[in-house]
Amino acid sequence: MSGRTVRSQVTVPLLRRETIGASYHVLTFDVGKDQSVLPGHFVMVRGAEWGDAPLLPRPMSYLSGGPTPSILIKVVGEGTTRMARAEPGEPFSLLGPLGVPWRAPNPNRRQVLVAGGVGVAPLLFLARTLVGARRPIVVYGGRTRSDLPLDDELAENAELHVTTEDGSRGHQGRVTDVLGSLLGDDVEVFSCGPDRMMAKVAELCAKRDVPCEVSVEAPMACGYGVCLGCPIPATGGGYVYACTQGPCIDARRIDWSRADHAPRRSGEGGKTA
């Protein structure tokens, strides 16, 4: 049969899996060609031999691109549990790059990256591309010291400020406690983490008139605008879809007051990084 193919789903082997602490892993795949992945893009990931369950691919932000792209996962459910046990050579189907990547950093501003837990992935990817420019500032928070995967890599690429809620590392408190003093006319913010964190970051930035871009998370079945499972309440009413209008989006386009701030699903299904 004929048929043009532009974006495609590829089945590729896992190249390696590195474990970080109790619940984080970096999975690197051997795609064999450069798919023009940019920081902020995401990929739908599914074990090629999973059969009927887990059924759906998992949306994951890229941690790196190139011919051997990687993702950072946190074990939260059935799919990520399988990924956390995967051995090199195991086949995975990858569909990407998808979504809207981070907007181009403004060379006249210093970048302040605000990360919560596993949300660090697209921000570390971004930080690595800022080499040569002025080192970005990163504010990185978690509940406790073990919730800060890849902090050492961040420290190599950025001026790093760490917060933990229990005070086991860095400043005791939240990223937003530290962020206020870093905001000014000459910075712009990129943020990825729990909704509540991003809502607070967006609020602080709006008050100070600092540009703020966030990478949102929502459950998705497809990743390319068909299932309509990933609505994010939009400013002015209605929804934007995380997969095609995000995941990276200007924080002012989101109606944070309508975003669901109740305890979120404990499992997976959302873009977890």
Binding site: L55, L56, A221, G269
Partner: protein, 302 residues
Amino acid sequence: MNRLETRIGNLVLKNPVLTASGTFGYGLEYDDFFDVAELGGICTKGLSLEPRAGNAPERICETPASMLNAIGLANVGVEAFCRDKLPVLRERNVTVVANIFASSTDDFVKIAERLDAESGVHALELNVSCPNVSHGGIEFGKDPKLAAQVTSAVRKASRLPVWVKMSPEAGDIVAVAKACEDAGADALTAINTIRGMSIDVDAERQRLANRTGGFSGPALRPIALRIVWDLCGAVSIPVIGIGGISTTRDALEFLLAGARAIQVGTASFADPCAARKVLSGIDAHCEKLGITASELVGRARR
């Protein structure tokens, strides 16, 4: 000759493989993956008279070998469909089945009339079985009289073939099917999703904002197959099988049970090319047996 050619009433399809409403957008979203004109047809996202924003999040969650969705029929509306989507589909020679939804018979008729005025729509699929909206939808599909009333009204308002999508939640689905046949339906699509729910044990709350959502995916397949078998034995119009079809062998089960064609739904999420793979597989199967797709239909009933 084309061994996969499939007749649904007066409508001739290239082959018996279609994609299910709600899992294939308006078709154009799959442009990057393959030429959707290769398919027997695509069923559009349910179209309403006015655009709909859909339900609040969370709208979907995964369940064992299945998923739940409560999208709430978010769609661009029939007017935007005719203006923005249909011309492209027409130009590409895509066989388009417009899935339509309304909360009253009058509105069903208005949407049908609007689509009737366009070229490039090959059939209408009446969604009288959506489980995710508070008015209309499933109420029509549970009651033989209401289902017949909608079918008859649309039948009179449009020159297009009318397919009616059956709800598995009808108490007596055979009665609904026969009522639709008597009211002039050209074909039946079976089945729509069935309502399910899921609770997040750690958060101690329902996973879907709508509480319930349509249950779809491989786990639904045995139920769908049973209903398709029953309907094929009860009506003489074609039945189009749908429910958890992911692979060629899944599709063959429905054809062997008597379905004239099939629709691939949830499987397109995990593999955007799922429908095309099913199509290739059916073609290879027919070649191996030296028969046409039509000759496969109902062979398990002999």
